[in-house]
């Protein structure tokens, strides 16, 4: 990843330095011994190069539009007490640092890098370790957070912050970061028109990615593995979720995606593998789910009765313990042309669509919803018998919940 970023660094060097401002060097043997002193002397559009070393400078406040560039990953140490970098000016670039031991406070949200009320900030190629909050943005616009590695060893949800925390911001780009061990990997609250692309968020305590009140955002090509839950999208609308990979969200309240009070979302080309629950929806409206792959999940989909107008079409459901589950008898959503590996219908007219409907809810999953302990009876002869009876004479499962013409073969998409 470091290799990949060389061209980018070079570009930054040219744009940031030779064209606009002068270059300054910070290091044990250079003119400036500390970053703070270099910042004091700097003017807008200057570049400050920091050589390898350990810098313990309490809180560094960046209030000028400069580029702060680390060479060979100099270490900024917050000694477990301070917020390390506070960015308060627009057009700031921070890249190539190892930032460790930021302070922990339950009153102030201390972060390794915090961006205050500004715009066009770039935070690139940094390694942030043992931070409370990793990167924190508030009231910021057009910022770019790219290729950072953010790791923490949080013990409890209360004692750890989020990897990338964005609050009241817009037009952000969060690309190719690796985040682990935080409370939420990436947290969005009141963030709009932003993109989250190709990040890997894993082993976070709560969610890999968390949306609250954030509209018109897209996340794409991310991997979420072994988080408390993969992604939680709450109280938001127009969120697009494409090409993501959700894996091993295991636990009682563990989901690949948790949708709560969502409208107008699109969930496409995602891959859900080995989660306790693939997608859980509550109070969702107008959601389109297409071309997703659900594989080896405990429950592929849990659609609560409070959802309406969910279109679930052309998805593949393979080797899930239960395909669909719901909590009521009313179901206002629509299944169309999905492939279900449990379907045992036929296709007489050879149009690759089954001629009889598939009912993805088994009686046993309804029973399980009412009495979870019955899980121990799963796959017993009596459970199979109940399911077969229900399939022929549906009485307890929602009548409308069916795929009229399921696919006979798995759907292939590009």
């Amino acid at each position: 990843m470091i290799k990949k970023s060389y061209p980018l660094l070079l570009i930054l060097l040219f744009i940031g330095t030779s064209v606009f401002g002068k270059r300054m060097y910070v290091g044990p043997k250079e003119n400036y011994k500390s970053i703070t002193s270099a910042l004091e002397a700097a003017k807008n559009a200057d570049s400050i190069f920091v050589l390898k070393g350990i810098y313990q400078e309490k809180n560094i406040i960046m209030d000028k539009s400069v580029a702060l560039i680390g060479i060979n990953y100099p270490i900024l140490d917050g000694q477990g007490l301070y917020e390390i970098l506070s960015i308060k000016a627009p057009n700031v670039t921070v890249s190539g640092f190892e930032i460790i031991r930021c302070g922990i406070s339950s009153i102030r949200d201390m972060a390794a890098i915090k961006v205050y009320d500004t715009h066009h900030v770039k935070i690139i190629n940094n390694h942030i370790k043992k931070a409370f909050f990793g990167i924190y943005l508030q009231y910021s616009k057009n910022c770019q957070i790219q290729n950072n590695v953010i790791t923490a060893k949080g013990i409890t949800e209360q004692e750890s912050g989020n990897g990338i925390h964005c609050w009241n911001s817009s037009y952000l780009q969060i690309i190719n970061n690796k985040i682990s061990g935080h409370r939420d990997g990436i947290y969005f609250e009141f963030v709009t028109h932003s993109k989250i692309v190709k990040n890997h968020s894993f082993k976070n305590m709560r969610y890999g990615l968390h949306f609250m009140f954030s509209n018109n955002d897209t996340y794409e090509g991310n991997r979420f593995t072994e988080n408390g839950a993969g992604v939680a999208v709450m109280f938001s609308n127009h969120v697009n979720m494409f090409h993501n990979y959700f894996e091993k969200s295991w636990g009682d309240a563990a989901y690949g995606i948790l949708l709560k009070e969502i409208a107008e979302g699109k969930i496409m080309y995602n891959h859900f593998s080995s989660n306790t629950m693939g997608v859980y929806m509550e109070g969702a409206t107008n959601i389109q789910m297409k071309h997703n792959l659900f594989e080896k999940n405990g429950w592929a989909l849990k659609v609560q009765a409070s959802c309406q107008n969910i279109t679930i079409e052309e998805n593949n459901f393979l080797a899930n313990t239960f395909d669909v589950s719901t909590n009521g008898t009313l179901f206002l959503s629509n299944f169309q042309h999905n492939y279900w590996d449990k379907y045992d219908g036929y296709d007489l007219d050879k149009n690759h669509l089954g001629d009889i409907p598939y009912r993805p809810i088994s009686l046993f999953s309804v029973i399980l919803e009412k009495n979870p302990t019955t899980l121990i009876m799963f796959r017993s002869f009596i459970a199979v018998l109940l399911d077969k009876t229900e399939k022929n004479l549906p009485s307890l499962t929602p009548e409308q919940l069916k795929d009229e013409h399921p696919r006979m073969k798995p759907i292939k998409w590009i």
Binding site: G251, D252, S274, T276, T321, K370, R379, F381
Partner: protein, 255 residues
Amino acid sequence: MYKIIKHIMADILRNKVILSYTLLLAIASFSIFALEDTSSKGILSMLNVLLMVVPLFSLIFSTIYIYNSSEFIELLLSQPIPRKTIWRSLYFGLSIAMSLAFFLGSGIWILVFQADYLGFMLLLIGLLLTLGFSSIAFLTALLAKDKAKGIGISIFSWLFFAIIYDGIILFLLFQFSDYPIEKLMIFISFLNPIDLARILLLMQLDVSALMGYTGAIFKDFFGTQMGIIISYLCLIMWILVPFKISENIFAKKDL
């Protein structure tokens, strides 16, 4: 003892019923693995064969065999051989032949199509169930002198373990759904070899679903090394205990 075992094995392996059982298992297993489009579906169908057909056949074939060889047993009793030796050789001869039939019928296909931990587990559980239900048959065959009655008892015991027991548990689960009975359920499942086998395989097949809250309690037990060892020991107990009881009865029985 070995002579008797050898004789009985040779006798059973020549039996047309056991040959057709082997053939049936072979055809069923092959078609299950070859025709299902995903191997996980194949495993599930295999599970049904394992939990239904294997116990049923083991029970009924063993029971009938004991009744049919009553004259042979009487002949052996007239020889200077201890009763327990006769009974044991009868069991070993029968169970080795049955296990062989299961291995040749299903085992080979399992190993061909699913040569991993899960496949190995299917094979082992199949063998343990074969042995366990043969041993239950040895007990039921001694309970009644009349052949028809004996077969009736063994069919009923299959019905009980395969269906009725689960029905009762499901009923109780709903009756006591307000109480924390998860731990009790673990104990109850030990009382039925078919359930025990099913749960052991469930832990492998549906691991994601079992990570939920209630599932986690079962997973914490059956998913741990200790739990798995205890479960297998318990399956072995289901072989030893009924056989030991039947042996004691046979030793004292007035034939």
